[in-house]
């Protein structure tokens, strides 16, 4: 996996996925990454059911008005150190939905995004790569302690 991994981040990496109004394209690619062909569980990466257990937050979708405060709350519930990955063009830039009246995104206006994954939807390989990058960030944070 990613180069430069030290021993400081000892846990397996747990990921929480939050859909902020996406079209499902990115969401099914995230699930695809967990399923046998890409099988990220062999690296210890797991999808968990609550943000309170997660190290990394995967956000998809352009953040609709109704979801804004919910996305923020999910982020606040995560324990430190944490990293945020924005998956998909529409969370990064608005994509095809640009100028729509019901969007408050892009996501980096709402949350501090660490890794941007582009593609509509990005391939599972790209998502796995992004998680590995987030891992490096968590490593660095942990090492500084």
């Amino acid at each position: 996996m990613a180069k430069g991994l030290t021993k400081s981040f000892k846990r397996a990496l747990w990921v929480y996925h939050c859909n902020s109004g996406s079209c499902n394209g990115c969401d099914i690619e995230i699930i695809a990454a967990l399923c046998p062909r890409y099988d990220v569980e062999r690296f210890g990466i797991r999808l968990v059911g609550t943000p309170r257990h997660a190290d990394v937050l995967l956000v998809t979708g352009p953040v609709t008005r109704q979801m804004e405060d919910k996305v923020k709350r999910v982020y606040e519930q995560m324990p430190d150190p944490k990293a945020v990955i924005c998956v998909g063009n529409c969370g990064n830039t608005g994509d095809v939905f640009y100028e729509s009246y019901n969007l408050v995104g892009p996501i980096n206006k709402i949350l501090p995004v660490d890794v941007h994954v582009i593609g509509c939807p990005p391939r599972p390989e790209a998502i796995i790569n992004a998680v590995a990058k987030a891992w490096v960030k968590l490593e660095t944070l942990e090492a500084k302690k």
Binding site: C23, N24, E29, M67, V96, F97
Partner: protein, 411 residues
């Protein structure tokens, strides 16, 4: 929750909008008495992105890509219904080969979507091995999709007046090989889903939708067919090349001899449809005539033609989840649509949740809700945002809105 009560009380359980059992944001409010569900309220609007409004600022070719992103799982059927509507409005004749190619894409999407659903349904009842097994098959279907269109999920294959990629003779062996793979694995899936004791126990008799309710609530697609209603756009109206193909209504009694309208029947229904789709693709490959795949390859010329259109059109397509209807109107001045209205199948299949869930146990919520294969990103168009005030619609309002909208679309 386990308090001793002498007086009978019911309590409310909110589920959502962010909840591990839900793949997409939607909000339920369950009224519970003991373990039984007394009433259900559904609130939508979390995925509303203003897609229809945005279409008025895009030209029809751009709208195709917008339509594709209404829902990533139905990324063929929304552009398909939109093109059908535009083609009716502008009176465009589509080459015959393109019609067959469109059927192939549509059926391939149905296979992918139903297999995905089978995995999700298995996951909902805690049968994760099957989830992994089905998604492995699905990866094969995605490989084939990628081979035919260049993309895994959002394919960008539809265009107004035809389709964007041809299937050349050298691609046929690969397609046939993959279809045979699906057939082999279909048998395995059938065995798992229809003979396994656990699945039977969880799904038989759960979430019953009677034929009467299915008709009354205008359910569509596999959900209504599993209750014995013979409704399928592919048979009712012969669009694309479906008129030339051997296709008939499928209901679960084909296999079991009876219709119960429960979750088990909806599983059978979808499996049978996968088999039907494989057959349809094979028929298309055999019968496909040679010729052009698009009526007007030059986009600027097409745009000019569309700019002059003054009229409206309705496009109907049988998506994996049921009938999708698009209505589009051009005013003859601007190249952008004057208005565009989308009615996705989940819109109709949400109301049947209420009779399905009433009287069920809390633990059955996920599998019953999943059994209609809901897709929130298609449906979220009813929350009205006005001066930053949110109006929440009750189910009666939602129902009358739905009826009104159907009337409006059919006019």
């Amino acid at each position: 929750m386990k308090q001793e009560t002498t007086t009978k009380t019911s309590y409310h359980i909110p589920v959502g909008p962010i909840h591990p059992a839900l793949k997409e944001p939607v909000y339920f409010e369950f009224e519970i008495s003991g373990e039984r569900i007394v009433d259900v309220n559904v609130k939508l609007g979390h995925v509303h992105r203003g897609v229809e409004w945005a279409s008025r600022k895009r030209n029809p070719i751009q709208v195709l890509y917008l339509a594709e992103r209404i829902c990533g799982i139905c990324s063929f059927c929304h552009p398909a219904a939109f093109t059908l509507a535009v083609e009716t409005a502008a009176d465009i004749q589509v080459p015959e080969r393109a019609e067959y190619l469109r059927v192939i894409q549509g059926e391939l999407e149905r296979i992918t979507s139903h297999i995905l659903w089978a995995g999700v349904a298995a996951h909902e009842i805690g049968f994760d091995t099957v989830l992994y097994f089905t998604w492995q098959i699905r990866e094969k279907a995605l490989d084939l999709t990628e081979y035919l269109t260049g993309n895994r999920v959002t394919k960008g294959i539809m265009t107004i007046g035809g389709i964007r990629r041809d299937i050349t003779p050298d691609m046929l062996p690969r397609i046939k090989k993959d279809l045979n793979f699906f057939k082999d694995n279909f048998e395995k899936l059938r065995h798992i889903f229809l003979d396994d004791k656990t699945i039977k126990m969880r799904s038989q008799g759960a979430g019953i939708l009677t034929k009467k309710d299915a008709l009354k609530l205008c359910a569509v697609g596999p959900t209504t067919r599993a209750s014995g209603v013979k409704k399928d756009v592919r048979v009712d109206t012969s669009y694309f090349a479906y008129g030339d193909l051997d296709i008939d209504y499928i209901t679960p009694d084909v296999l079991t001899g009876e219709v119960n309208g429960d979750v088990y029947d909806r599983i059978i229904q979808r499996l049978l449809e996968v088999k039907q789709s494989i057959g349809l693709i094979e028929q298309c490959i055999d019968q496909m005539p040679a010729g052009d795949i698009v009526s007007e390859p030059k986009i600027p010329k097409l745009m000019n033609q569309l700019k002059k259109v003054n009229g409206e059109g309705v496009g109907r397509h049988e998506a994996p989840r049921g009938e999708v209807i698009h209505y589009v109107k051009f005013d003859g001045h601007s190249e952008n649509p004057y208005t565009w209205k989308v009615r996705a199948p989940t819109y109709n299949n949400i109301l049947p949740w209420i009779p399905m869930l009433k009287g069920e146990q809390i633990a059955d919520i996920p599998i019953v809700a999943a059994s209609t294969d809901p897709c929130m990103s298609c449906t979220n168009r009813v929350a009205i945002v006005n001066d930053n005030k949110r109006y929440e619609l009750t189910k009666e309002q939602l129902h009358s809105l739905s009826v009104e909208k159907t009337r409006r679309v059919l006019k």
